[in-house]
């Protein structure tokens, strides 16, 4: 492309890739990215900490996000959340001791017609039941 702005780095896309690889944004990777792009480390952190799907702290291998926006709430998302807490033995925003799971509550994920819905990493699971959840969180 001859156009300058089209060549500009798209930080969100890069950060999402790093997040996918490590499940969080390690400081080392941010420093490397800063050197490569010339964007100051502090600016990368400023951007990264704004978005709920990016994390600067280490998380579990699988991030379990339970949607609790209105349509899922009406379909019993709180029961699913309680069951997840019980199964994993952790509270919201905590990681299991073996580093396998992090539990989070998320805003709407667009599965309002198939609620309650959850995400495990990038995968969507709709019409979730306690039984389904038990199998997934093994």
């Amino acid at each position: 492309m001859q156009d300058r702005s089209a060549k500009k780095i798209k930080l969100l896309n890069v950060l999402r890739e790093i997040q996918k690889k490590h499940n969080y944004l390690p400081e080392e990777e941010i420093r490397k990215l800063s050197e490569k792009t010339g964007i100051p480390v502090i600016e990368i952190y400023s951007t990264a900490t704004f978005y709920s799907m990016l994390s600067t702290k280490k998380k579990g291998k699988k991030i379990v996000r339970i949607c609790n926006s209105l349509p899922c709430y009406l379909n019993g998302s709180l029961n699913i959340l309680e069951e997840a807490k019980r199964l994993l033995g952790i509270d919201i925003n905590q990681t299991t001791k073996d580093g396998k799971f992090t539990l989070e509550v998320t805003s709407c994920i667009g599965c309002c017609d198939k609620g309650p819905a959850i995400m495990i990493n990038d995968k969507l699971i709709t019409n979730i039941t306690k039984e389904k959840l038990r199998k997934l969180l093994k």
Binding site: M1, D3, S5, A6, K8, I9, K10, L11, L12, N13, L15, R16, Q19, I39, E43, S46, T47, F50, Y51, S52, M53, L54, N68, S69, L70, P71, Y73, L74, T106, S107, C108, I109, G110, C111, C112, D113, K114, G115, M119, D122, K123, L124
Partner: protein
């Protein structure tokens, strides 16, 4: 569904034959308006961006559908991404743009591969030199706002900004930028070639206490009762017109069109209806929505950032039966202050649900 009918680049070919002016004129005549919630005339947005003097212009397709209860854009991206991309190509041709972005919300990342393949296929088929890139969002509701989406693509925190300047004057990288919603762009090719196309046919996202939730194509002007029957709503008590920015209201005979709803102080927005049945307490739902806003307020404006925390506290106080009439008055007052003093659409609408709930369902807000 009509919106999902593929046009196979026929509209793009037609636009190329007609030229930009005539193409925009057709959109004006057909009356296509924005489907992101604001209903702004699409042709006017295009015309304003086109007329701004600049060497370069940019297009952003807003696929950051984050409003709870709205999932129509997801359906379009799944079933008919071709029309969306054709819409972008037609827009690019009309406003003379060589650079476009699809801002896809992070939660829809699983759609990215298919979307990328479709882009490649269509750019090849049209021999287009348009630069079209997908930007993956990362979980921020606010980035659906058109000035916040710009901040986000510019590698910044997704803060909204003052308007004017409008994006059509000074948008992404300070260049004139056209921002259109997915459903709007998908309708562009249809509006251009289908004789029977009109602006009254909309995709409604319907969820909540209904037996048949989903996306329905309905005519503006349909009676609420008819919709309730169609989706098999169980003993409806109320309907949220959009979960967060929306209002709560119920009247079986209500005719769903913008003018009529406006009289009842309800905004139709993105055409999302969330049904709530008679067993529900509206206060519980208000708490759920307030939790959403304490999380999603970007923090730029103090009234919205701090106010929403106080709103949540007040609602929980009412729930714990400790609240007095004074608390309820404070809740209403604060709701109005947040609306009046916030910069963006989120802040300006985030307490609509409380104000309308107190007006229509006061019995659920019991105080001492």
């Amino acid at each position: 569904m009509k919106t999902l009918q593929k046009t196979y680049l026929k509209a793009w070919k037609k636009a190329n034959k007609l030229g930009p002016e005539k193409t925009i004129k057709i959109l004006k005549k057909k009356g296509l308006t924005g489907r992101g919630g604001a209903d702004f005339p699409t042709w006017l947005k295009w015309e304003l961006t086109r007329k701004t003097k600049s060497k370069e212009r940019i297009i952003i397709c807003n696929a950051d559908e984050g409003e709870p209860g709205t999932f129509k854009d997801k359906l379009i991206l799944e079933k008919n991404p071709e029309n969306v991309i054709e819409g972008i190509l037609i827009a690019a041709y009309c406003i003379d743009s060589k650079e476009a972005y699809i801002y896809l919300r992070g939660e829809y990342a699983y759609l990215k591969d298919k979307l990328r393949k479709t882009i490649k296929k269509i750019l090849k088929a049209t021999k287009s030199d348009l630069y079209l890139e997908i930007i993956e969002g990362a979980g921020a509701y606010i980035c659906g706002d058109e000035t916040a989406i710009i901040s986000s693509i510019e590698n910044k925190r997704g803060y909204p900004n003052f308007k004017p300047p409008y994006p059509s004057q000074k948008g992404l990288y300070n260049k004139p930028t056209l921002i259109n919603n997915v459903e709007t762009l998908a309708n562009v090719p249809l509006a251009l070639i289908n004789k029977d196309w009109n602006n009254h046919s909309r995709l409604f996202s319907i969820s909540g206490d209904v037996l048949r939730p989903g996306v329905y194509e309905l005519k503006i002007g349909t009676r609420l009762e008819k919709i309730a029957k169609k989706v098999q709503a169980k003993n409806p008590k109320a309907v949220y017109f959009g979960a967060s920015g929306g209002c709560i209201y119920y009247e079986p005979n209500l005719i769903i069109d913008q003018k009529n709803l406006c009289k009842k102080n309800v905004m139709l927005g993105t055409c999302s209806l969330i049904f709530v049945n008679k067993k529900r307490n509206i206060l519980d739902i208000a708490i759920n929505i307030a939790q959403f806003f304490t999380h999603e307020s970007c923090g730029k404006c103090t009234p919205c950032r701090e106010g929403n925390i106080h709103i949540l506290n007040l609602l929980e106080r009412i729930k714990s039966k400790k609240a007095t009439e004074k608390d309820l008055q404070l809740l209403e007052k604060l709701s109005i202050i947040i609306k009046d003093t916030s910069l963006c659409g989120l802040g300006q609408t985030c307490t609509n649900h409380i104000l309308t709930a107190i007006r229509h369902f006061k019995e659920d807000f019991q105080v001492k």
